[in-house]
């Protein structure tokens, strides 16, 4: 029932509360606590402490959040920059590695060139032809550099092939593994002779070797210069299998020393075929 009282009826009570509260505040303003503050100050301090703490916490949270956000943005930007720089450095590193490897190859080529009695010309392989019938390569040297047809092409590892056509600044090289190529070979250990022909991706085969010839797997085959194209003593490859063939000959498969899939720099021997020209084998 008391809940249903109207405001005028309750007014004295409200007034009482108001007056007493005001008086309490008035007293609190005068009474000092042991800490020297007025009771009002202490009460306000105590009352506002959770609010201040909350506000401080909120401000701290917001500030922390904002700082975290800003830091995150900075870190993101920095991360992007660092990634970009890392990419550039990686590219530089890759390029450096590429130069290092190229340098090694060219050094090898220089060593080979120095060891040759025949004048030679370094060339870069521009493209490798890999059709089923032909195994050819294009090099960046041509007739204006002195390159002519049938000039032998070698690398540090051994025979690469021979020039089959020479343009002004570009030449086509028939690789050792081309089915139509033929190189006069010599078994280094036994001095047995034969003809090395290409088999494409399977390597080469040495033909016309007598069945009486002592041939073992692992024997090194070098050029014999009897074809009047390649100088004598250039490594052709290593015997990978020996079987009995027909017509009193052996069936000898040779694994070329040159990796034709990764051919990059070669030497073109400028002097024409000279049976007298000899080379120290590279192995």
């Amino acid at each position: 029932m008391a809940m249903n009282k109207s405001f005028p009826e309750r007014r004295p009570l409200f007034l009482l509360v108001l007056i007493l509260s005001s008086l309490l505040v008035l007293m609190s303003y005068q009474v000092r606590t042991r800490r020297g503050n007025t009771l009002l100050e202490d009460s306000l301090l105590n009352a506002s402490a959770p609010l201040v703490k909350g506000a401080s916490g909120s401000v701290g949270f917001v500030t922390g959040f904002w700082r975290g956000y800003v830091d995150l943005r900075g870190a993101r930007k920095e991360n992007r920059t660092l990634r970009s720089e890392m990419g550039a450095f990686e590219e530089l590193g890759r390029r450096g590695e590429e130069y290092r490897r190229e340098n090694l190859r060219l050094r090898d080529l220089l060593d080979l060139k120095a060891s040759l009695e025949t004048p030679s010309l370094a060339a870069e392989v521009l493209a490798l032809g890999t059709s089923s019938q032909a195994r050819t390569a294009l090099i960046n040297r041509g007739s204006k550099d002195g390159v002519r047809r049938d000039m032998p092409v070698v690398s540090r590892k051994g025979v690469v092939g021979r020039v089959i056509s020479a343009g002004a600044g570009i030449s086509k090289v028939q690789l050792l593994i081309d089915p139509n190529s033929g190189v006069a070979g010599l078994l280094q250990r036994t001095r047995g002779q034969g003809m090395v022909v290409g088999l494409g991706d399977r390597g080469c085969r040495m033909e016309y070797v007598s069945e009486l010839e002592d041939v073992e797997v692992g024997d090194v085959v070098v050029t014999s210069s009897l074809d009047r194209i390649y100088p004598k003593g250039v490594t052709v490859g290593v015997v990978s299998s020996v079987t009995e063939g027909d017509q009193l000959t052996k069936n000898i498969l040779i694994r070329p020393e040159v990796d034709f899939r990764h051919l990059e720099e070669v030497l073109v021997l400028l002097k024409g075929p000279d049976p007298a020209a000899t080379l120290e084998p590279s192995r």
């Binding site: 007014r11 004295p12 007034l15 009482l16 007056i19 007493l20 008086l23 309490l24 008035l26 007293m27 609190s28 005068q30 009474v31 606590t33 009771l39």
Partner: protein, 155 residues
């Protein structure tokens, strides 16, 4: 005379009387609180709002003149005036004996309120001895009956 000025006048009389008592009859001043008598007079004759206003005014005046913490007596007298005014709406307090009882009861209540207030404010709460309380209650009761009789004659 309008009630406001009448109230001011009554307050001045009570304050003057209490000052005179404390100056010339200190022992009597300890047994009679004319401010309480005035507030209780309002409590039995006026509405509660008027009682509270008078209680606050009388208490503040007493605080100012007695040099106590401003608001202590105002708080006590406002609360006691309200309670007694509320009681007055339920009981017939126009006879001397009930009025004596109200004055006595109000004196006790005021003393208890003072002690409670001191506790709330963190001060030392000193409750008057029972003898002092009884003496003050009886003094207020007697002074009140005389004052109310005089006031009724003047109105």
């Amino acid at each position: 005379m309008i009630p406001f000025w009448r109230g001011i006048l009554a307050l001045l009389v009570a304050a003057g009387g209490q000052l005179l008592l404390s100056r010339y009859l200190p022992a009597a001043a300890r047994t009679v609180d004319l401010y309480t008598v005035l507030v209780l007079y309002y409590a039995v004759t006026r509405r509660r709002v008027a009682v509270m206003v008078m209680g606050t005014a009388a208490g503040l005046t007493e605080d100012l003149l007695a040099g106590t913490v401003l608001g202590v007596n105002a708080f006590k007298k406002t609360l006691v005036g309200y309670v007694m005014g509320t009681l007055g709406t339920y009981f017939m307090l126009n006879q001397p004996l009930p009025r004596f009882g109200v004055l006595f009861l109000a004196t006790i209540l005021e003393a208890l309120t003072g002690a409670g207030l001191a506790l709330v404010l963190g001060q030392h709460a000193v409750l008057p001895s029972m003898g002092d309380l009884v003496r003050l209650g009886m003094g207020n009761g007697v002074a009140g009956i005389i004052a109310y009789w005089m006031a009724s004659k003047m109105e």
